[in-house]
Symmetry: C2
Subunit: 337 residues, 2 copies
DNA sequence: AGTAGGGTGGACAACGATGTCAAAGGAGGA
DNA sequence: TCCTCCTTTGACATCGTTGTCCACCCTACT
C-alpha cells in the first residue's frame, strides 16, 4: 500500500508478462492466450489497477468523456437537458463534463477551447456566441451537436424545438378564445428562440386577419424584473391587451408577478415554456411545453452516432411542442372589449 | 496550416531554440535571456501555441481544473451554488468540470474516481453516499470540500447552512402568529438536511411548550407529487393543522399544489428554501432563504486555499439563513381553532 | 528434416509537456 | 593569460499508455 496508483508496469511485474501484454488484456486484444489473460486479470484485480485516462488521452488523442456546454446551469430547462445527456452517456459508459459559458459570448470560445484541450470525444453546445466560424478554424478533432439554438456561420447537427409553430399554436389558442388585442412579452429579438417565437406570434395574428398593435409588443424585457415592469406598463395602457403571450420562462415569471401584483389575474396568459409551480398558480398557467429530456436524449444520441463514425451530412432535428391547457389561457376577454 | 495543434517542438523550431527553453518561457522561468524570451514569445504568438493540458497533467500530475459533483444539476439551489463556484474559479484562472452523481449513492464513488483520474486539483462534493471512508482509502492527491451536507466517516472542510436554526425560526414564526397545530412535510429523515430541519421544528415546538402531533409529521413524502398527496391527507384530518412547514423546495411545491387544489390557501405555510415563483403565488410564500451563491463562493474559496497549501485542520462553516416574510406565513389560524 | 505460417509476447518509440543535470559561453579576478 | 564562476541553454529521462514491428515457438506441410 504505497499510496501510488498502480500502473501497467506494476501489473506486468506481478503477472510476469510485459507491459504491452497487460495493455492488450485491458483492450480485449484477442492475440493473448487465455491462460495469460487470466493471470493478468488476476493481477489487475489484486492491485485494483485502473488505466489512467490522462495517459491514455495523451497517447490516443481522445478521452472517454464528452463535453456539454450550457449558457447557465441554473436554467431549469437546460438542467433537464443536461440530466438526459448524462443518462445517455452513462448507458454508453462515457463520462460527461459540463461547463457553463455564462452570458458573455466571447466566453464560449474559451470554454470550447478548454474542453477541446482536454480531448473530449465530442461536444454538445448551447450556443451563445453570434458566430461559430471559429469552430471551422479550430479544425476540431471531434463532433459537435448544437442544442436549443442553431449555430451561426457553421454547419453541424442541431436539435431545436419548433419555436415558430409553438408560438403560432399559443396565439391561435388565445384568438380562439375571443382575444384580439394580444400582447407579446419577451427578451431581445436577436436571440434565436425569441425571434422565432415572435414570428410565430405575428404569423398567427396575420392568419386570423388581426392587426398587431406595436405598443403591445415588448421585446426589450430581459429577465423577470424587466418583464414585470413591461407587463405593468402594458396594463396601464388605456386600450391595453386582453391576453398576453410570454416568450420564455423568465418573461413568464415577470408577467405572472405583474398580473398578481396588479390583481389582474383575469387577463389571459399563455407561457412559452413550462415553469415550476405554473400549475399551482391562480389561475394555473397554460403553457407551451417543450420536452427538455427528449431534446437532451436526441442530441446525445446524435453525438454518439457521430463519435461512432457516422459521417452523413449534418441534420437539423425539429422537435414538436405541445399546448398544456391549465386555465390562464382560456380566460375570455372582458364583455365590453 | 496543417490542422495539427502546434506543440512546444514547433515553437522551438521556429524560434531556433530548444524545446526546454520554450517550456521555460511559458512557465516564466527567470533563467531565460530577455532577447531569447522575446523571440520565443513571437513564435508562440505566430503559431497560436497553447500548452496541452493533458500532457501537462500527465507530467505534473495535476490539471488546472477543479471538479464539482452535485446530486442533480436540475436542483435550482445547487445550480446557483455551481454558478458561484464557477465565478470564483474564473477569477483564479481555473477551469471547473461539473459532474452529477445522480441519486444512486454508489454512483458517487464512480464519479469521484472519474474526476480523480482526470487529475483535478481539487473537488467540491455534495455528498450522496452514506459513507465517505473510501476517500481516505483512495489517498486522494487533492483536497475535497463538502457542501450542503457533511461527510460521513471522513473529516474534511464542510460548508452547510444552519438548518436547525432555520427551521426553529420558521416554526417560531408560525407559533408567534397563533398556530399550535403545525404540520411538518418533508422527505426522508435519513437525509441530513431534512433531519436537522425536523429537529429544529421539534425544538421550537418544545420551547413553546407545544406538543407535536405525530399524525401531522410527514417525513415520507419524496418529491412534489408525494408531498402533495401527504398534504391533501393532512387536510382531510378531522383535527388537521392550521399551519405547515415544508422542509425543502420539492416538498414546498407539493404543499402549494395541494393547498391550491383544495382551495385551502387560508392555511399558513412557511417553506424551508425559496423557490421560483414563490412571491407570485397567492398568497406569496414566506420562506427561509439560504443563500446558494454565498455557499458556493465560500466552498470555492476554501478549496482554493487548500490547493494553495493551507494545511490547517478541517473547518466546518455554518452559514446563517434568514426568514423572508411574504404573506403565507403570517396567516392567522381560524377563529374557532 | 527443413521451412512456412499462425499465434503469442516483447522491445521500442511516441504522445507533449517538465525536472535533472551538465555543457557552453562570457565576464571578471589573479 | 588562465581559471573560476555565473548565466543561459540544451540533451535526456520521465509521466502511463498504445501503435509498430519484430522475435519466438510450436504445428504442419512439402
Amino acid at each position: 500500500m504505497t499510496g501510488r496508483r498502480p500502473t501497467l508496469k506494476d501489473v506486468s511485474v506481478l503477472a510476469s508478462v510485459s507491459i504491452k501484454t497487460v495493455s492488450r488484456v485491458i483492450n480485449n486484444d484477442p492475440a493473448v492466450a487465455a491462460g495469460t489473460a487470466r493471470r493478468v486479470q488476476a493481477a489487475i484485480e489484486e492491485l485494483g489497477f485502473r488505466p489512467d485516462p490522462v495517459a491514455r488521452s495523451l497517447r490516443v488523442g481522445r478521452d472517454d468523456a464528452v463535453g456539454l456546454i450550457v449558457e447557465n446551469i441554473a436554467d431549469p430547462f437546460m438542467s433537464e437537458v443536461t440530466c438526459a445527456v448524462e443518462e445517455v452517456a452513462r448507458e454508453r459508459g462515457m463520462f460527461v463534463v459540463i461547463s457553463s459559458a455564462g452570458y458573455a459570448p466571447e466566453n464560449e470560445r474559451v470554454v470550447v477551447g478548454g474542453l477541446a484541450n482536454r480531448r473530449v470525444a465530442g461536444l454538445i453546445l448551447t450556443p451563445t456566441s453570434g458566430d461559430h466560424s471559429y469552430l471551422a478554424a479550430e479544425r476540431l478533432r471531434f463532433p459537435v451537436v448544437f442544442v436549443d439554438r442553431p449555430p451561426i456561420q457553421y454547419d453541424a447537427d442541431t436539435v431545436v424545438v419548433d419555436n415558430e409553430e409553438g408560438a403560432r399554436v399559443a396565439t391561435a389558442h388565445l384568438i380562439n378564445h375571443g382575444h384580439r388585442r394580444i400582447a407579446f412579452v419577451g427578451d431581445r429579438l436577436h436571440i434565436y428562440t425569441t425571434r422565432l417565437r415572435y414570428q410565430g406570434f405575428r404569423s398567427a395574428m396575420a392568419r386570423a386577419g388581426l392587426p398587431v398593435d406595436e405598443r403591445l409588443v415588448r421585446v426589450d424585457a430581459v429577465g423577470p424584473e424587466n418583464s414585470a415592469i413591461a407587463m405593468t406598463q402594458l396594463l396601464e395602457l388605456a386600450d391595453g391587451p386582453t391576453a398576453v403571450l410570454s416568450a420564455n420562462y423568465r418573461s413568464s415569471l415577470g408577467v405572472v408577478r405583474a398580473l398578481h401584483q396588479s390583481r389582474r389575474t383575469d387577463l389571459a396568459h399563455v407561457s412559452f415554456d413550462d415553469f415550476t409551480g405554473a400549475e399551482s398558480l391562480d389561475p394555473p398557467v397554460t403553457v407551451i411545453y417543450q420536452d427538455p429530456r427528449r431534446m437532451g436524449r436526441q442530441a446525445a444520441n446524435m453525438l454518439f452516432d457521430r463519435i461512432n463514425g457516422d459521417t452523413s451530412p449534418p441534420r437539423r432535428v425539429l422537435l414538436p411542442v405541445r399546448l398544456i391547457v391549465r386555465g390562464s389561457g382560456e380566460l375570455p376577454p372582458p364583455e365590453n372589449a
